[in-house]
Structure formats: structure tokens, C-alpha cells
Symmetry: C2
Subunit: 206 residues, 2 copies
DNA sequence: GTCTATACTACGATAGAC
DNA sequence: GTCTATCGTAGTATAGAC
């Protein structure tokens, strides 16, 4: 399907150059089709952009479906189990951030975070919200000493540790004096991510 | 000075639309001057972009100079003092991220992190590196149980908690169901940031 | 459905007046 | 130093052939 090729190419180009910076000519060219195919399939540049957002939301939801399902089914009978589930969720998010094939998605989303449009709304509702609510629910169970807003803040900051792997990619590479985050470094980062999160979650609730 | 107005406007436009998306016409227009002034003062679009990066690096360095100076002078005699200094540094970074007037800087940098150019190099070397090295040095003193790479990972992840305040701004707002992060919420986030960091740093080194 | 051709607008760079 | 005028290029959209 040419429309699916156009979508993937569009995500890459929009992520790399931004909405204004990306050109429909270049996207069509890289997809080996005529520019007017975009008009036909998506109605224009804006339609293509929104379709790209939906595609990303579906992709993230699909990738996180397994871990979300596991967490929901398992419940959180004990405090230790709830902690383990938070760590599982964070690791899953971290692995997604470090995966090569989600690079373009991440760039697209980070751009949208700065000036959210309808596209961000779709990605948040479709993919981020379910994960966030699950995380907040678990942390609320673990840290009974925190009120609702504090729980949400803790969740947000915890996700920040994951986010820097992508949003601060260049700085992380410079700090470790490497050109790319290889498998070995990725494992180290995930281990520290888990350890840090465990420290925060284990704080005595009294 | 018209060139200084051009710089501020340029940072805003490049941060908002990206390098390709920003137009020198619009930048000149918003600066109430002719487009050819950019050629005269900065040699062209690219020169303006690099000058903007230098301007940001200088701005960050200036803002963090006080806290860096304090940390360096105080030294870190005791473990508790070193912890307090890390918290001070993180709070200072967090306040900068939450300040309204650094919004444009942050956007500019986040874009550069995705596809670093010469501009990122200048910002990293001029502003981020001194802060990072100070942070890493302190964490190394506090968490003697971690090796050098683990210390760097811990530092990076800790900064991630600060980064999400800007890079994940839209998502944070959605999680708290607000349109903007007001003073009250900012204080709450900084409090949790300090508490989380303290949990991580206090982990017994044995 | 996918192509070519074209209309129209906006871009960055530069030359030259003042 | 700052302006206007203009050049060549590249952008989106659209009409119409196949």
C-alpha cells in the first residue's frame, strides 16, 4: 500500500524537519510516488500530519499493550508486587525509547510537546494516558504517604528519567563520550533506571 | 542594538519552527528591520543560527554561575553536604526549566538534541558540560558503591527528572489537568524532585 | 489510484541606493 | 548600517490525462 509507505516516510520527515520544515514533495519522492498522492489519500499536508499522529499512537499502544495487560491482570496484591510492576512498566518504556525503530516516533512527539496541536491530543489520549494512569494508580498504592498531586508529580518525574534517553540523546552521548548508545550502555541505563525508581518507591510511607 | 533584537527573535523563531521552518523574512520583520540586516550582521541564516546558540550557551552559563560557584567554593566535606549541593544544583536547573523566559532556549536545545549540529556542540561545551561534570563529581562522592559509568548514568537520569518539565511540558500539563504550570504546581514539582533525588542519593553505599 | 503539468506563493541571497 | 528591488529556487495545491 502506497498510503502506508507515505505514512512512515511522513513520520520520519516531520520528526526530522518539523511540520513547516518537511516538504510534501520530498515525502512523496522518498515514497516513490507523486506529490498529488498525498492530496488523494490524506487531503493535503495537514491531513497527512494528523494521520501520522494516529499511526504513532496506535504503534505505541500496540507496543505497550502486553505489559499493560500483565499489570492489569496481576493486580497489585502486595506492596512489593506493585513496585515490581512499576519497574516493569518503566523498563518497557525505557526499552521503547532506546529502540532504533521508534526514533522517528519520539522526535515527532517531542516536537508536539512544545506546541501541542490536535496531533498531540490524539497521541496522548490514544497512547500516553492509559500508561500514565496505570503508573499513577500503582504509585498511589505504594506511596500511601503522598497525596494525589504528589503521586502524579512523582510519576511525571519518574517518566522523565526515561524521557531523557530520547529527548536528551545528544547530551547523554556526550556525557558517556560515545557516538551512539549501544546495547551494553542501554542495559546499564535501564539497570540504573530500575535502581533509582526502586529507591524512590521504597521510601517508607510513614 | 538591532543585532541583539535579531538574536532574541531568532531564538524564538528557530525554537518554534526549527531551522528550516523558520524564515529570515519573518525574523527580520518581527525585529522591525530588513531581511538583509541578517546578512550584514551574521552573514546569513546559518550564521544567525550559530550566533543564537552562542547566545543561549552564555545565558545558561550566566544563570547557573552562582550555584556552580557556591558548590565549588563550599567543597563537599561531608556526605550530607554533598547531597545538599546536588539538590541545590537540581533545584536551580529545575527553576530554570520552569521559568517563562527560558522557554525559547529550551525549545532550541531540544531540537538540537535530536540532530545535533555545530550549534549543539557550542551549547554543550559552553553551558552543559561544566554543570554535568560538577554533578557527576558530587554523585561520585556520595554513591561510592557505584563505578564511574554508573555514576554518570545516575546523573543523566536525575537530570531527566528536570528535563521532563520542559521536554514533556504538554504531557505534564495533561496529567495535572491544567493549561499551564503555575507557581504552586512548580513548587510541588521541585519539592518532589528534591525528595526523589534524596532517595536515590541516600541509598546506602555498601 | 496514480501520474504530469502548472499556478501561485514564499523562501534565502544579493546587488545597489542612501 | 539599513533600506528596496530582484533573482532563482522550492513550497502546496489543483486540474486533468490515463
Amino acid at each position: 500500500m502506497i498510503s502506508s509507505v507515505l505514512l512512515d516516510t511522513a513520520i520520519e520527515h516531520f520528526g526530522r524537519h518539523g511540520y513547516e520544515g518537511a516538504s510534501t514533495r520530498a515525502i512523496a519522492n522518498a515514497s516513490r510516488t507523486a506529490m498529488s498522492s498525498i492530496t488523494y489519500h490524506f487531503g493535503g499536508k495537514k491531513g497527512l500530519y494528523l494521520a501520522a499522529a494516529d499511526h504513532i499512537a496506535a504503534g505505541i499502544a500496540e507496543r505497550q499493550a502486553a505489559v499493560l495487560q500483565r499489570v492489569r491482570e496481576a493486580g497489585a496484591a502486595t506492596r512489593e508486587q506493585a513496585i515490581e510492576e512499576v519497574l516493569m512498566l518503566l523498563e518497557s518504556l525505557g526499552r521503547m525509547m532506546l529502540a532504533q525503530d521508534t526514533e522517528h516516533w519520539a522526535r515527532f512527539i517531542i516536537r508536539e510537546q512544545q506546541f501541542p496541536t490536535e496531533a498531540f491530543h490524539r497521541i496522548f489520549s490514544g497512547a500516553m494516558q492509559p500508561i500514565a494512569e496505570t503508573l499513577i494508580g500503582l504509585i498511589g498504592q505504594i506511596r500511601t504517604d503522598l497525596d494525589s498531586r504528589e503521586v502524579r508529580a512523582t510519576a511525571a518525574l519518574m517518566v522523565g528519567q526515561v524521557l531523557i534517553l530520547r529527548a536528551g540523546h545528544a547530551a547523554v552521548c556526550r556525557v558517556f563520550e560515545v557516538l551512539e548508545i549501544d546495547r551494553d550502555l542501554a542495559d546499564l541505563l535501564i539497570r540504573r533506571l530500575r535502581a533509582n525508581a526502586r529507591c524512590i518507591l521504597s521510601e517508607k510511607p510513614e
